[in-house]
Symmetry: C2
């Protein structure tokens, strides 16, 4: 056991109290009303970096929410520098969504902490801060450390594109570790080397010039909700594939070697699906297995729909408009804007003349695949094996971390995705939580990862 | 000009101030939070009946909202008795729906009063109260008058069924006038002799056991919003007819004579459609013209839909459930429960095995057609012609007044539907309003109607 590892173990109770402090702040980036809370979370992190002893700590404003950047260069200029990326913003959460405890009052129960952001991604942020603290406090850090935490990941990191370009020099590093995302098992580590991109859009349909009485006009007006449903239905084929012409044109097929590698994790991903998604049956493209559909195939999803009166009671209204939120997950070599344009043109072509529609682009993030044979990935693999006692599976992650593409483009550095979240922890849903023992292993893995990177360079 | 007619004219400003008082009370029957407001509206009406001099005024509790019943029997036992039905409850209304002025702060502008309930149906209630006042105050009432106002019409009058049965004796009358609904023109009166029934239902679809991350599970789970859209789409045929097996089985075909009569009002209904509905194009069963589709054909309407995150911003959620509010307008001889059952069975049969669905019955009201050649209809026709200077068109009304069926069944009395509302006044929608000059004509028409009924009996 290293000194840093022992330090982390003996300080773990304090670490988890600090995690709870950060979880109390409702840093919801998509809701303008929470802007001050997002800033409060950034300030909390910057304060902790100063406590830990980072040499430079800066809260850098962006067009929307600030970035927190801390630099500790105490390992000297011959030592390698590791840049770690994470995010401190969270998704919206309301009791009405089905929470058992208030989402911003962290509640510890059965070795878990329940709170919005517990798994996505404040426990990742804190794992980074506490791993760095353990190395710095014990004087054993073998690398220089740059920690970069953004506040707009849940709104697809639109600011990071320009931020990374503008601060390219400051972000220079020998290794970049992206700390977000999640693993599919509590005992079996995995290493994601692929991330899907995402494009978020909005479809609005108008019929009558305003809400009208369904008795007076029903049967003579194309109901916007119905027209919207008809359009939505035509976006998929009966086999679960997306019906938008050209949608799959630039999708890179999987090699047989990669399909074989992905298959190793399949039974294990299927078990997790049954536990967490727990839908009556699987659905989707039958030509691809569950792991491939999650990580290596693009999708089109309806994330929200609204129209008319859908509260308790009944209102016999024929609504003037209806709205759907639609997103696509993308895989290489798809890119967001052309996909949006294909959808826009297809929707325009299938919108019946009895209604009007508008399809708007809201947010984008591009897909990425990193080299799973690179040095950073190998250092992470060894660290995971040491802490978990098992070699990690290599997986294609279904979620999106848009900044990965920006960092790949600007830094051209060896990169690894290190996720300590467990998929069964309800990221984005009600009763999101983190397992304290998995989180502790995350801190230990990061400490081991720094040691592996440092050792490799000295060797 | 009769004494009562002159009285109504000279007191009109006070009448309209009283209408505004009643419009200030948000008597929304479908929302439990407004229960006290509904009771306040009932009390206001009872007070006005007492001011006018009704002999018996009673607020009669029901399982849900109270009925107000006033009886003035001063014309003597040889004079005919007229029972008038109306309702004082209103639909929900919120500024966010697109109101330009607060819905419960009546605003007078350009000869109109804007407020929720202005047209549906508090101006009808007040027309009845003020016509009765004009006759009673001038000592010229040729009939005994019973006014019956309910507070549950907007929740399909479920209580009136048992109420009418329980109070059959008290409600006995020679003529029943139903005062609700609306006309299609501001200068051309019409007389509705048909009303559609309504059955209100709710369809819920479940997929994953709770909301999940659309990146982690998208493409492997049948999205409940999409499954709901697929089900909704299959409820109609491409020609606009309802695709539910057996839906049209008991629909009485229109006779050629009735089709010809309805055709008279068609150009005029088409103009109103273009003004008020103002959708890009007409929609619906191509084998029937606009008037027939509104009044003589059954429909299936999606009144509301909700699922996932549809607010400002974006949440990449794959929702655990989605909900649609669905209603059917019915025509003779359809009945509500069998129609619900046909829908329920069809929806169960088309729900894919990848999701679960439940289809619930919420509220019902049966369709009705009354004898358009009866004495009450003829007295109303003459009154309308006198006040408007034009013979009324006979029309089939698209809306529903569930109590008509109950009154037909229990009282077996000559009946007429007298509507002073204008369809272009946004009933159930934002910026609902009433034209003061049309409302004044409504009061004058009621006075003339009472005179016609009294004269007919004396003759």
């Amino acid at each position: 056991m290293t000194a840093a590892s022992a330090y982390a173990q003996s300080n773990f109770n304090r670490f988890s109290d600090q995690l709870k402090e950060l979880l109390c702040i409702p840093s919801i980036s998509t809701l303008p009303a929470h802007r001050a809370d997002v800033e409060r979370a950034a300030a909390w992190i910057a304060d902790d970096m100063r406590r830990i002893g980072f040499h430079t700590v800066e809260i850098i404003p962006t067009k929307w929410h600030p970035v927190v950047l801390g630099e500790w260069m105490g390992a000297g200029k011959d030592a390698p520098t590791v840049l770690v990326y994470g995010h401190y913003d969270v998704q919206p959460a309301e009791m009405a969504d089905g929470w058992h405890t208030p989402p911003f009052e962290p509640t510890e129960k059965d070795g878990k902490i329940f709170a919005r952001g517990a798994i996505d991604s404040k426990s990742n942020v804190m794992a980074q801060l506490k791993a760095a603290e353990s190395l710095i406090a014990t004087g054993t850090a073998p690398c220089n450390i740059k920690l970069l935490f953004e506040g707009d990941e849940e709104t697809t990191s639109e600011n990071m594109n320009t931020f990374v370009t503008a601060h390219r020099e400051r972000l220079q590093a020998d290794v970049v570790a992206i700390c977000d995302g999640s693993m599919s098992d509590r005992e079996q580590p995995d290493l994601a080397y692929g991330l899907r991109g995402v494009v978020c859009m909005e479809l609005e349909v108008w019929g009558p010039k305003q809400d009208v009485h369904s008795g007076h006009y029903g049967g003579t007006v194309h109901n916007p909700i119905q027209a919207l449903a008809e359009i939505i239905t035509r976006l998929h084929n009966p086999d679960g594939s997306v019906a938008v012409p050209g949608f799959y044109d630039t999708v890179q097929p999987l090699s047989e070697e990669e399909r074989a590698e992905l298959k190793k994790a399949l039974p294990w991903i299927e078990t997790e699906w049954k536990d967490v998604a727990a839908a009556p049956q699987q659905w989707g493209e039958s030509a691809y297995n569950l792991h491939e559909r999650i990580g290596a195939r693009p999708t089109l999803e309806i994330n929200g729909i609204a129209g008319g009166f859908a509260q308790e009671g009944f209102k016999t209204v024929l609504p003037g408009r209806a709205l759907a939120k639609i997103s696509c997950r993308l895989v290489p070599d798809q890119t967001s804007v052309p996909i949006y344009e294909k959808l826009r043109d297809f929707i325009a072509s299938i919108t019946p003349p009895t209604v009007r529609s508008e399809f708007r682009l809201l947010e984008t993030g591009e897909p990425a695949v990193i080299d799973r044979h690179g040095a950073a990935v190998q250092a992470a693999s060894a660290a995971l094996e040491m802490v978990w006692g098992k070699k990690p599976f290599f997986v294609r992650e279904g979620g999106s971390i848009p900044v990965v593409v920006d960092l790949q483009r600007e830094l051209k550095t060896d990169m690894v995705l290190l996720s300590f979240g467990y998929k069964g922890c309800a990221a984005h849903g009600p009763n999101e939580h983190v397992y304290l023992n998995i989180w502790e292993r995350g801190i230990q893995t990061m400490i081991a990862f720094y040691h592996n990177i440092g050792a490799k360079t000295q060797a």
